[in-house]
Structure formats: structure tokens, C-alpha cells
């Protein structure tokens, strides 16, 4: 099996789907001839032609609106929004249209679109190239929100998202494109080479939406994370010395509630880690669900470790980014109880 970084794995998923399904089309800003600013669509126009992979005008609202129209007609468009920070001009299209088409037309119309977008920080991207907007999509009924943390999952989840008959927001942790990153920014850059999660089959396969992965088994606490934070969590757990179970949610809608509940009932402690700011973040929903379903099993209050409630500040990248030390501290606090 070839080793691929996340960019190659995503490119591969798109390549496979273009070849398999003539209804799949790919477009976005700079995605055609150039192959995308992060190179995810590199070579796809040359291989599959101008009609299958093309450049879009700089209009996120226009990109999602036309994708919805194509989807309603019967195609499976995959739209790229260059940075998740720039989905917002298309927000109404996602919230009031893509997410509601099926419901309001009593099943007459629906839009099986996939919206891919790089998200997250750790790259000194400043306020508008670093945000993690997953919670605002998770809040919208009718949208699915998927976030891979490694190349194998990235390919399998993206294919599953494209084949899904509902609209999927597919957030790609850009800090993981070229290698795993555990938040220790002062250490040498790692690549995906040699990582078993970077062994990606050439052929078609799917990783089902709504199925979490137990990244590490443990007995004393459960850590819930997704995207870049899966790697940060692993480092934080190691640093804490706590025997914690690490769950990579992989998709936050649909959410694998069984795996979460089974784990917390077993460990009796729960720490939630995300990069987005804390207040109103997805961690709040997870904490409520765990409290509702595991209250009598909990030995300590649920902890949330997250970005601060400020915009993402350029000079303070590492003061803002919730690193392994903050998770380790939270785990230690849980264990004191």
C-alpha cells in the first residue's frame, strides 16, 4: 500500500470518484488548472477534463448555490472553499438551502453536495486562515460535518461523504496535510512517512460517517477529540501519564454516541479537546450529552480544553492553540477527584 500524505489521500479520493461516477464534478477557487492552493485537486483537470474539475469565480455563495442546483438536478458536486474562514459568505446557502431542501420539499428535492474546506490553526495564518467553525455547522439540522485526522480516514471519509445523499461539510485539518502535528511546535516537523495511518489503499473504500475510532484504549479517563486535536490529545495523554482512552470522533454529525457513552461509562471521566473557542463550541454539546447519559458514572466534572474566547491572534499562535500541556493539566485535575 502506498504511503500518502493527507493531500495525496484526498486527491486520490477525488480521482477515484471522478473515474467511478460521471455525476461527480469538482470546482472551487483555483481548483482547476492550478490544482488548488493546497494542491488537493492537483492534476485532476488534466486527467479528467475541464468539465469535471474547473475554476470557480471568487464567490462562495455562488459556489454553494450552483452546487446545490447541480445536486438537486442529480449530480454529486464536490465544492472546495479555499479556507473554512471563507465559507461564511455562503452560510445562507448552507443553512437555509442545502440543509433544508429535502425537508421542506417533502423529499422532492435534495442536494447530495460535499463542501471541502481546510480549517484550523497552527500555521500562523492569523484571524482569517485559522478558524475552526465546526460548531456552527453542527448546530444546523440537515448538515453533516466530517473531520478526518489522518490520510487513511481522509480518503475513506471523503468518498463516503461524496456518496452520501445529504449535504456534507468536510473540514480538512490543514496543519495535518503534510504530517501529524501534536502541538509541540518547537520540535522538528514530522511527515506522514512511516505512519501506519498514512498507508492508503489505491482503490475505492469508505470509512462510514458517524463511526468514531478508538485511537488509544485506556481505563481512567476518556478524551474526545477530532482533527488536529487527536494528535495533540495523544501527546497530552502521554505527558499526563494518565491511562486515558482517546476517541477520534471523525464526524461530529452524525455523532457516534454509543462509542462515547460506552467509553465514559467505563472510565468515569471525560475531557473534551477542540481548537475552536470554548463558549458555544462543540465541546458544550458533547459535555451535555455525556452528562445526560453518563451522570451516574462520572467521578469528576467534565472538562473542556479549547481555544480562548478571542479571535485567532497572529502573534500569539501558541498562546491560543490548545497544546498538549493544557490537556495534561485538565487530565490531572480530573484524576485528583
Amino acid at each position: 500500500m502506498p504511503a500518502m500524505n493527507m493531500i495525496q489521500a484526498l486527491n486520490h479520493a477525488l480521482d477515484v470518484m471522478l473515474a467511478r461516477d460521471p455525476d461527480v464534478l469538482i470546482f472551487g477557487e483555483d481548483t482547476g488548472y492550478f490544482g488548488g492552493v493546497f494542491r488537493v485537486t492537483d492534476g485532476l483537470q488534466a486527467k479528467h477534463g475541464l468539465k469535471r474539475c474547473f475554476d470557480a469565480p471568487i464567490s462562495e455563495g455562488g459556489i454553494i448555490a450552483t452546487a446545490i442546483g447541480m445536486g438537486a438536478y442529480g449530480l454529486r458536486p464536490v465544492a472546495e472553499i479555499q479556507f473554512a474562514d471563507y465559507i461564511l459568505p455562503a452560510f445562507d446557502q448552507l443553512v437555509s438551502e442545502a440543509a433544508r431542501l429535502r425537508y421542506r420539499s417533502a423529499g422532492e428535492f435534495w442536494a447530495p453536495i460535499t463542501v471541502r474546506s481546510p480549517y484550523g490553526g497552527g500555521i500562523f495564518g492569523g484571524q482569517t486562515h485559522s478558524q475552526s467553525p465546526e460548531a456552527i455547522f453542527a448546530h444546523i439540522t440537515g448538515l453533516k460535518t466530517v473531520i478526518p485526522s489522518n490520510p487513511y480516514d481522509a480518503k475513506g471519509l471523503l468518498i463516503a461523504a461524496i456518496e452520501d445523499d445529504d449535504p456534507v461539510v468536510f473540514l480538512e485539518p490543514k496543519r495535518l496535510y503534510n504530517g501529524p502535528f501534536d502541538g509541540r511546535h518547537d520540535q522538528a516537523l514530522k511527515t506522514w512517512a512511516g505512519d501506519p495511518r498514512a498507508e492508503v489503499p489505491e482503490e475505492h473504500y469508505t470509512v462510514p460517517l458517524g463511526k468514531a475510532a478508538i485511537e488509544r484504549e485506556g481505563a481512567d479517563a476518556t478524551v474526545l477529540a477530532y482533527g488536529t486535536m487527536v494528535h495533540v490529545a495523544a501527546a497530552g495523554i502521554a505527558e499526563s501519564g494518565v491511562d486515558a482512552e482517546l476517541i477520534d470522533l471523525r464526524s461530529i454529525v452524525p455523532l457516534d454516541i454509543e462509542t462515547i457513552v460506552a467509553s465514559v461509562r467505563k472510565t468515569g471521566r471525560c475531557v473534551i479537546l477542540h481548537e475552536a473557542s470554548r463558549f458555544g463550541g462543540f465541546g458544550g454539546e458533547l459535555a451535555a450529552l455525556v452528562q445526560e447519559r453518563c451522570f451516574y458514572h462520572l467521578k469528576s466534572p467534565i472538562e473542556r480544553v479549547a481555544g480562548w474566547d478571542t479571535p485567532y491572534p497572529h502573534a500569539f499562535e501558541w498562546d491560543y492553540f490548545p497544546g498538549p500541556a493544557r490537556l495534561a493539566k485538565a487530565l490531572a485535575r480530573c484524576m485528583e477527584r
Binding site: E29, D30, G32, Y33, F34, V37, D55, A56, P57, I58, S59, E60, G61, G62, D85, Y86, L88, P89, F124, G125, G126, Q127, T128, H129, R278, F279, W308, D309, T310, P311, P313, H314, A315, F316, D319, Y320
Partner: protein, 363 residues
């Protein structure tokens, strides 16, 4: 007036003479000042781009080939007017003497960064220089200019607003919304499309530039549209003067397309040879704005090669000194404002979340 959006307003001819009805007849000192600010913009871009290559900052964007635009419009407009910039009109600040050291400190996000380390390099804000706060998302301030202009009219002031948008970004709803409001409320604004032919890797055709001109978009909104040679300092000046006068006389908004060429890559993250011929810039038919103004001044007998070379030398020294001073404070990651700044300014008064989180960080 309906043919103006399909023509090209030019003043400087091939021989460097100022000709035709749009000639603004500027004083020689004004020309020299314009040339100085354009050369300063270029020198600053060159050196700070290099600073990025040396790892001293995370990001930089140049306006090479487009310097006439920000510089001429900054000089032409009043100090009370407000510019709603893109990242590619830094000449606006250079023409108004914005301190180089403040710019360098912002680009290095160091302890003396006037924007407190909160913003990506070159996304400046300089209210006292008539320069509205920039942000990374393109297009979204185009409507602010219209609102600002409406507010000025409401108060009975004679300040006007000037906004920029890239030709690629005219595809955003922001552009069309702003033009509709500008027309309906006859806002005293000058709205400019900088058509530098490229939007990262997409040529202007992806924004509809092969179907019509960007200036002609004005017609559908009932606004006058001018298509102007953006590499001709005198033409940019004259068109802006015309539009500003219309705005100040309550005749409303003008849309100006500034036809130019992005001679460098999009940003430090870009490699333009992946999508356009490497020598395309050299073949741009409208030439280099600096060379054209210089040629004109030499033809007038107001400038010469020796003074030109000396000026470049002086400006480069100024930039080098500012960079050195900034480096002494510290480059990205080596120096930063107090971490407390991360928590300031979210609201006018901090709420309990920020107070508690600061405490958690121990600051």
C-alpha cells in the same frame, strides 16, 4: 458617457508625453513626489518579501506593477477622506508618510506592532492616514465605503469614501450589493476595481472579464463607469479627480476600473510559474508604471537617470534602516506584544469569560 467603460482613459503616450483631455497638468513637484512614493513602495516590497524568505515573518504580499494606483489616489484625495483598501494598495500609506518602522513592526508582529500582534502581516489599519482596517476575507469592506459615504452625506460633511476591490473579487455579492446601495442612495463614493488580470491562479475571464469590461458593470446599476490605464499615474490621478468631484458635488458614485497587471506572485505562498508564463510581466503592453512616470519626467526635463538612481539608493537605505530597527525589536516569534493583548479588545469592556481565561493563563 456610455462608451467610457469600453475605452481606456490614458494620458501618457508611448513617447512619455502627457496628451489628451484627461491630462491633469500636475506640477513637477507633485510628479516627483508620486515617483518617490511609488519607488518607496517597490523598495519596501522587495525588502520585506526577502524578510519573509529569511523566516522573519509569516506572510507578505507585493503590489509590484500596481504602485501608481494607491499612490496617485492617496495623493489626490483629501486627508479627511477614507480609503477602504485591499492588501495591494500599500502605496496609499507610503504616499502619506506612514512610518516605515510601524509597518515593519506590524509585519514582524513584534512587541511594537501597532496592531498588537492580532493581525496577519500587511493587513494594516491606519485611521489617521485615511486607511480603513483590512481583513483577510476579500470584498467585505466594499459596502462599508458606501455606508461611510452615506454617513458623511447624512452629517452634511464633504468627506468622501474610496474603496478597492480586485477584479476576481467582483464575483462576490459584496461588489453588487455595494453598487446597488451606492446608486440608490447616490452615495459620495469612488468605487475602484483593480483589474490586475489575475486572482491567484485564475485569469480575469473566470470573473467574467471576457464577456464585458469591469467598468461596464456600472451601466446596469445606472452609475458612470470609467476604464482607466492603471499603470499611467496621470490617468489614475485624472480619473480619480473627476470621480471625487462628482462625489463632492452630490452627483453620486463612480465606478473606476483600473486596468493593470500583477507583476509578482499573489503572495509569499504562491508560485505563479505554475499557471502563467514566467515572462508574462515583461510583455505586459501597458508597461511599468514607475518607468512610464520616470520617462515622462525626463521628457519634461524635470528628472534624469542620475537623480533616479540616487533616489532609489536613498529609499532603499530608509527601508533597510527601518527593517534593521524592527529586527532589533524582534522578528516573528522572537518578540511579541504582551500576551494580555490577545484578550484585549474583543469587547470594549471584557466579559467574565475573557477575565477568567486570562487568569487561567496567569496574565
Amino acid at each position: 458617457m456610455r462608451d467610457l467603460p469600453f475605452g481606456l482613459v490614458r494620458v501618457l503616450d508611448e513617447a512619455g508625453q502627457a496628451v489628451g483631455p484627461w491630462n491633469p497638468r500636475l506640477e513637477a513637484d507633485t510628479l516627483r513626489e508620486g515617483l518617490r512614493a511609488m519607488l518607496l513602495t517597490r523598495a519596501f516590497d522587495e525588502r520585506l518579501f526577502r524578510s519573509h524568505r529569511q523566516g522573519k515573518t509569516s506572510f507578505y504580499m507585493k503590489s509590484t506593477g500596481e504602485e501608481a494606483i494607491g499612490v496617485a489616489q492617496s495623493m489626490m484625495l483629501g486627508r479627511e477622506d477614507m480609503c477602504f483598501p485591499t492588501y495591494r494598495v500599500m502605496g496609499w500609506l507610503h504616499a502619506r508618510g506612514y512610518p516605515l518602522i510601524d509597518m515593519v513592526n506590524q509585519i514582524f508582529s513584534n512587541a511594537n506592532d501597532p496592531l498588537k500582534g492580532r493581525q496577519l502581516p500587511i493587513l494594516f489599519s491606519a485611521r489617521d492616514y485615511g486607511f480603513y482596517t483590512l481583513s483577510g476575507n476579500v470584498g467585505s469592506r466594499f459596502g462599508h465605503a458606501v455606508g461611510w459615504a452615506m454617513a458623511s452625506a447624512y452629517r452634511g460633511d464633504d468627506k468622501i469614501a474610496l474603496a478597492y476591490i480586485g477584479e476576481g473579487t467582483t464575483a462576490e455579492g459584496d461588489f453588487h450589493e455595494a453598487l446597488t446601495f451606492a446608486a440608490v442612495y447616490r452615495a459620495p463614493a469612488v468605487l475602484c476595481v483593480t483589474n490586475n488580470q489575475w486572482a491567484i491562479s485564475s485569469y480575469s475571464g473566470i470573473a467574467g472579464g471576457e464577456e464585458t469590461t469591469f467598468a461596464a458593470k456600472a451601466i446596469a446599476y445606472g452609475l458612470p463607469g470609467l476604464r482607466v490605464d492603471g499603470n499611467d499615474f496621470l490617468a489614475v490621478w485624472a480619473a480619480t479627480e473627476w470621480a471625487a468631484e462628482r462625489a463632492r458635488s452630490n452627483l453620486g458614485t463612480t465606478l473606476i476600473e483600473l486596468f493593470t497587471y500583477r507583476a509578482s506572485g499573489h503572495s509569499t505562498s504562491d508560485d505563479p510559474t505554475k499557471y502563467r508564463p514566467a515572462d508574462e510581466a515583461a510583455h505586459w503592453p501597458l508597461g511599468d508604471p514607475v518607468e512610464r512616470l520616470k520617462g515622462h519626467m525626463i521628457a519634461l526635463g524635470e528628472w534624469d537617470e542620475a537623480r533616479h538612481a540616487a533616489l532609489i539608493e536613498t529609499l532603499d537605505t530608509q527601508v533597510r534602516e527601518a527593517v534593521k530597527t524592527g529586527e532589533a525589536v524582534g522578528t516573528l516569534g522572537k518578540s511579541k506584544p504582551s500576551v494580555a493583548e490577545m484578550f484585549e479588545g474583543v469587547f470594549k469592556e471584557p466579559d467574565w469569560r475573557v477575565v477568567e481565561q486570562r487568569r487561567e493563563l496567569g496574565i
